[in-house]
Structures are given as C-alpha cells and as structure tokens.
C-alpha cells in the first residue's frame, strides 16, 4: 500500500473539514478525487503532504507512519504538484526541475551532475526537454504543468499528489497532462489527483474517491462510483451518464439543459 489513511479528521478552528476519512491506495494506482468546491479535497491533500499539521487519525506511507518521517524522508515518498503555479523569479525550466534534488543534497550542498542528468531525463520523459533552457515564466500553462510533472518524476518519489492539475488548462493541454499522468501510473507510480470533471475518471483513473461534506462518500472503480445518482446528488445538478464505444468510456451530460432544448424544439414543431 503506498498510502493508507485511517480515521483522518481535520478542522480549521472549530469548523470540521474532514471527518473519519479512510481509504487506501495500492501501488501503481491512479486515483481521482471528486467532490464539490470547498468539500475538503485540498485539505485532504495538505494533510497527506503534512502541510497541514494537527490532524487526527493515522496516515501511513509505504507502511511508515507519516508523522515519524522527516521532511526529507517525506519528500522521498510523496511528491507534490501544485494547483496553479507562478514563480516570482525567472528560473530556467531546468533549474525548476533541479529543485527536486533538495531531498538528495546536503543542507549546504548543491545539485551534482547526476542530478542534472536526472532532471533532463525527467523532462524527456514527459516530452518537454526542448524547453530546458527557456525561462519557466515564459512557457505556456500546459508546458508549465508538464514541467512540474517532470520535477515530480525527478524527485523520484513513489507517490505523486496533484491538486487539480488541469484546472487552468485548455482542452488539448488537459488531455496531454492527463495522458502523461496515466503513463506514470502505468510505470508503477501511485498518483492521487483531484478533478472537477467526473467523467475524466473513466479514461484516466483506476479508482475514484468521492468526498462530500468532509466524508468519504464512495470509493472504488469509476464505473461503480461515478453514477447518475451520485454525481447528481453531490453537485446538485441533474446528470445523465452515457456509455460510449461499447462501454469503454462513459460521459456525464447535464440533462436539465437537454430537456429544455427538447422542449423548445417540440414547441417550434
């Protein structure tokens, strides 16, 4: 098990954000986390990354208690790809990726040749090595996200946590980033990512975790979890889940607009 969460609870002041959250993620599994805004997805991630302290319950990473790990050991287990990213200074893409070497370099050291080599390899793996020498602030949003994925790869952690990696990207870049992530999971990494598109799970996830009001609402195979009833209930919109290509993939369609459209057409006739 790469991540095992048991009875996780967290509150900001008196407001409970997470209550009794339990789930486990086996190695090499891509998990999508679904849930409306403000339901605690980011908080859950921040707890797993130890950016939030003061949570209750237990989180074990690779069989080791998260609380017992040092900052450096944690970085070797879990890498993080943030939601939206801007850097104050104009670092080169390669330098951004090189930052992942922090855990492997002594307090007063700087990256060695092998770290540089690993950074280039990571960039090649997601197909953005040709950007290596360019300023990070002057590449497109999709490229930035791919560079951050390369950084997580170069960090050489077993698990990657991604907070809405595609929320700011256009359609093409979304597909590209998700494909790259899918590929990483196939190569044995465990990945947890949050998303706002419920049907992304059918193509790009092995499991879906649905959070609602700070609790785990459902967890399992996307086909079992992302159903008409559940999506309609948690997002409060009427949704139809349709099957395509002999059920290789499914899509979610908001039906209220569909009904209205049908009514209009009938009226015109």
């Amino acid at each position: 098990m790469s991540i095992d969460v048991k009875g996780l609870g967290f509150s900001y002041g008196r407001r409970d954000v997470l209550r009794d959250v339990s789930f486990s993620i086996p190695d090499g599994m891509l998990v999508n986390v679904l849930g409306p805004n403000g339901v605690g997805k980011s908080t859950l991630f921040r707890c797993i990354l130890c950016l939030n302290t003061g949570w209750t319950g237990s989180i074990t990473v690779n069989g080791r208690d998260l609380r017992s790990l040092s900052v450096r050991e944690r970085a070797r287990e879990i890498a993080y790809i943030p939601q939206s990213h801007s850097s104050v200074y104009d670092y080169n893409v390669l330098d951004v990726v090189l930052m992942s070497a922090s855990g492997g370099v002594g307090m007063f050291g700087s990256p060695k040749k092998r770290h540089v080599e690993r950074a280039w390899e990571a960039l090649e793996r997601v197909g953005v090595a040709h950007l290596g020498h360019r300023p990070y602030t002057r590449i497109s949003g999709g490229e930035k996200q791919l560079v951050l994925i390369a950084r997580a790869i170069a960090q050489d952690a077993r698990t990657i946590v991604m907070d809405e990696p595609t929320s700011a990207l256009d359609y093409g870049n979304t597909v590209r980033v998700l494909s790259a992530v899918r590929q990483l999971a196939r190569e044995g990494m465990s990945i947890v990512q949050s998303t706002h598109q419920p049907d992304q799970a059918f193509l790009y996830a092995d499991r879906t975790l649905v959070l609602n009001e700070g609790r785990v609402c459902a967890y399992g195979d996307p086909k079992d979890v992302v159903t008409k009833e559940l999506v309609s209930a948690i997002y409060h919109v009427d949704v139809e889940v349709c099957s395509l290509y002999g059920d290789k993939v499914r899509v979610c369609v908001p039906v209220s607009e569909l009904d209205r459209k049908q009514a209009r057409e009938e009226a015109e006739r």
């Binding site: 130890c50 970085a75 922090s102 370099v105 197909g127 290596g132 490229e143 597909v175």
Partner: protein
Amino acid sequence: MGNGTGEPRAVSGACPADGEGTSPRRAADQDEARCASRRSARRSNLAIAVLAALLVASSLVSLMLGRYPINPAEAVGMLAHLAVPFDPFWTSQQETLFFQVRLPRIVLALLVGCSLAAAGAAYQGTFQNPLVSPDILGASQGAAFGAAVAILLGCTSLFISVSAFLFSIAAVLLVLLIGSRARGNHLLIVVLAGVMVSSLFSAGVSYTKLVADPSDQLAAITYWLMGSLTGAKWGDMALAAAPIAVGLVVLFALRWRINVLTMGDDEASTMGVNARRVRLLVILAATLVTAASVSISGMIGWVGLVIPHFSRMIIGCDYRKLLPASMLMGATFLLVVDDLARLMASSEIPIGILTAFVGAPFFLYLITRRKQQL
C-alpha cells in the same frame, strides 16, 4: 532557440498517441536545449570572471585616485613592500596616507558593498519578493537607534559601532519573535512586524535628535544617518569582519537552497527542504552581515536593493551564480560611488546620498525596461 514558440512540438511530445518514440527532429531540439543550457552556464561563469576582473581593476585605480597624488608605481611599490623588503621610493607622508586612510577606506567600501548586496539578494529570495532590501526587518533602523543613543552618551566611535550592531540584531530578533508568535501568513506577518519595528526605532532616532546637543551631537547623528565611509579605521573593520565573514559563508553555503525557498514554503517542504528552518538560517546570516556592515558605515541605502536586480539581469536568478555575482558587483559599485563621493566636490558628499542619487533613477529605469519585455 530552434523551435519557434515551442508550443506545437510540446503537443506531439507529450501525446502518447503519436507513439513512435522520439522523432529525429525532437531529438535535435533536445540536444539544442542541452547545448543552450550549457552555453548559458558558460556565459554566466564568464560574466562572474569579468565582474571579478572589474573589481580588481577598480580597486587598483581607486588606490591612486585622490587629492593627494600617489602614482601607480608608488601604489604598487607600497603594496609590494609589505611582502618584499626594499628601499622605499616614496615619502613617509604618502605611506601614512596610503595605509591609514586610502587603503582602509577602499577595503571598507568593498566590504560594505559586498555585504549589503549579498544580504539584499538573500532577503529577496527568502521573502519571494524582488522589492525587499536588507533593512526590511528593521536592521538599519535598529542600528541607527543604537548609534544615536551611543552618540548621545558621548561614546567613542568604536562603541558607537558596537551599540549600532547590537541594536540592529536586537531589532531583527524582536521582529522574528513577533513573527513566531503570530498566526496566519507567517511571511506577511514577519514583513509587517519589520515595518512596525522599523518605525518604532526611527521614532526613537527622532527623539534622540530632539534631545541631542545641537552644537555637536545632532550633527554627528545626522551625519551617521546619511552613511559615510570617511572614518574608516582598521580597528572597526576588524571587529565587523568576523560577523560579516560568518554570515557570508553561511549565505554562500545555502545559496542553492534559496532557489527552492523562492517557490514558497509548501513546495519547498514537499521537495524535502525544511523551509522554516532554512529561511530562519538565511535571515539570521543576512542580518548578521547587514548589522555588521551598517554599524561601521552608517545607513547606505539602495545597494542591497538595486545590485541584486542588476545581477539578475546579467546572470539570471539561480542563486548559485547570483549570490557571487551580487557580491562582486556590490563591492565594485560601492567602491566606484565612494570614489565619486570623495572626488566630485570640494567637500565630501555622504555616500548614502550618492547611492540614492545613482540608485533611484537606475531602479526606475529597470522597472520600466521590465515592462517592455513583458
């Protein structure tokens, strides 16, 4: 950059649909990128070498500049005489002036310029803000208050420096203490506390001015506040050199970590850097350096803000290169400005005024130029 915008190729690159592995064209682009990155590394090494050469050249020229003439042969001769004994071909008056006035002053300018620029660069990185200067946490105002009080008590120049140093460190520690107690956005609170503590101490300075004896003490305080390298003495410098050396060594050793800090605490810690601890270490080292240099030179603004920017334009943001470049450039800059300060007018202009005269317009030029690039 052989690939135009880079955008279309990123497409085929990341998309598994095109499956056939690396196309020859893409491999060429990757090689191109590696070469370009190696080229820029070489370029920045060269830039650092040039800066170092400039530093040496301007130091040598400065040794000869002044109202009292010392020609190049004499200057070199006097320096060489320290190591190799031979008959002097210069007057003893020249020798006194050279070793007791000119040389210490030049060394002081180099030391202070280097310190302020290094501290400024370090602060700008840890606070993820390019508009930060070394006095952001109250180091300068604290030093000013310490110096003003010491002047008020009629202390010697050595004790004025010590008092300035101690108050400067105390001001920053106070800010850090407030920061550690507060809840919420830690960085923001530290900066706010810095502003508050600064204004507290500057009110204190105003009060000492009010009660100071206008015939001599007030002038001394005002003069100290303007910053000057005039009274450079080996003794004061020796005292300041130790904290400066310790601080600079720590900053230099941490220079790559500062890169990671600029990404913010969350990311830094998920990459294995204990952000709070590293930041504290950087702040303490930078404060030590700032406090020591301000306590012997008075308030010299702008160097710590402008020089890191200028270095960044030449050499990029990577602190592995940026820190040494800032140090070299800061030392050279302050030396040149100090040469102007002592040569431009018949009575000397305090260097703090001159750095502002040079620094402010230059900074404005920088930020307007930035806009054009965007």
